[in-house]
């Protein structure tokens, strides 16, 4: 499991308007670029201090590429981070207020308490 790295992806993409758009438009290219170029960046440090060992699992990579928020929830991605980024990408397609947010919840309806662990 590399739950931390999934959260780091969601966190860093959500903070950058350009990355939000690239993730919406071409998720496979963005995820593969991010994993190669950004996953090991130690935040707030110059690139010479990057870590060397952070990788997605195949399931995590696939969920991110598929924009599959249900799979991300099951894998324990932080639900606030996932929701915030996915609203940024998809709320604009709404025709009704909160349409995306309600559909997002409905697709998670099969989850019972306790929800998947989000500890990193």
């Amino acid at each position: 499991m590399s739950r931390y790295l999934v959260d780091k992806f969601l966190y860093t993409v959500d903070r950058d308007p350009e990355l939000v758009e690239r993730y919406r438009a071409d998720p496979e290219a963005l995820v593969r670029w991010w994993e190669a170029e950004r996953a090991n960046a130690v935040l707030n440090c110059h690139t010479g201090e990057a870590s060397t060992w952070l990788r997605f699992t195949p399931a995590e990579r696939a969920a991110l590429i598929a924009h599959d928020h249900v799979a991300l929830f099951r894998l324990g991605a932080h639900p606030f981070l996932t929701l915030t980024l996915f609203i940024a990408m998809f709320e604009r397609d709404n025709t009704e207020p909160l349409e995306y947010q309600k559909a997002y919840a409905a697709r998670l309806a099969h989850f019972d308490l306790p929800y998947p662990d989000i500890a990193t």
Partner: protein, 287 residues
């Protein structure tokens, strides 16, 4: 010594700014009632004539992150920029600049450490809606210096609920021991039952109205024993996956003191959440 002239606890709904400023067809049907309740709530602070605001909130993965996550952090800076790109994007929140009260920040850090709380500090802290929402609702002039205090209610492992109460009690004592003639209001925001990013989000009411009813009763009556006897880190998962923010309400109950009944209690049942507003006057209600 400084005087604590008001203790205030509330929810921090980021849509209030947009709802209250919307006009015409964009104005939601609940906006007028919401604004009316906020104006009454705001008056409870105005009447206390504060000079300084100590503001407790929770960073929402804006500046604080999992590579170096503090449990409790005190801002110590002359100014605080506020709100973030993604809050502007999602909630329409404005950029803000607030003045800091560094002397009180330093006093809280020194006395808090000496009291056994391993407080982190930040000399450059950009604050987010958990602290700017009460500025918008309670002090829209944004003219008073602040001391921001952030808690971790978001990134497990979290401190126990009891620790939040203890920190609240300590903050009250520490502020009252500040060698100053200034009038201090202590304001904190949290949640009642709340779900974000899960199957129970954005329903017609909060995810657990029964929890909300009991929580409002605990807070309004200062029933710390009742609250602590029922609330645990595990139990807070049941009313909604973001309900751990309730621990910031528990912190504020610690500030107000065990058994202290709130002087102002108000609620508003909004889509997906119960809004709640509380004010205590430790020295009696101002004239």
């Amino acid at each position: 010594m400084a005087t604590v002239v008001a203790v205030i606890a509330s929810t921090h709904h980021p849509f209030y700014y947009r709802a209250s400023t919307a006009t015409g067809a964009d104005r939601p049907p609940f906006a007028d009632e919401w604004v009316s309740k906020i104006l009454a709530f705001r008056e409870t602070l105005t009447r206390a004539r504060p000079d300084v605001l100590v503001m407790v909130g929770s960073d929402h993965f804006h500046q604080l992150w999992l590579d170096n996550m503090p449990q409790f952090l005190v801002g110590k800076a002359p100014f605080y920029d506020a709100n973030w790109y993604n809050e502007e994007r999602e909630f329409g929140l404005p950029r803000m600049l607030l003045t800091g009260q560094e002397d009180l920040s330093g006093h809280i850090l020194r006395a808090g450490l000496d009291a056994g709380f391993d407080l982190a500090f930040s000399n450059e802290l950009r604050i987010d809606h958990s602290i700017t929402c009460p500025i918008v609702t309670l002090r829209p002039e944004a003219d008073l210096p602040i001391v921001p205090i952030y808690t971790n209610i978001f990134a497990p492992p979290l401190p126990q609920p009891k620790r939040f109460v203890q920190l609240g009690q300590a903050i009250r004592e520490i502020v009252e021991s500040w060698p100053s003639h200034l009038r201090v209001a202590i304001i904190g925001t949290g949640h009642l039952s709340l779900e974000l990013g899960g199957p129970r989000q954005f329903g017609p009411h909060g995810p657990d109205p029964e929890f909300d009813r009991r929580a409002v009763e605990w807070i309004a009556n200062g029933d710390l024993d009742g609250c602590l006897s029922e609330v645990t880190l595990d139990s807070l998962h049941a009313p909604g996956n973001a309900t751990h923010g309730f621990m910031d309400f528990m912190l504020m109950m610690g500030v107000a003191g065990a058994g202290a009944k709130a002087d102002h209690v108000d609620t508003l049942d909004l889509f997906h959440t119960m809004e709640a507003y509380f004010t205590w006057y430790p020295n009696g209600a101002p004239a």
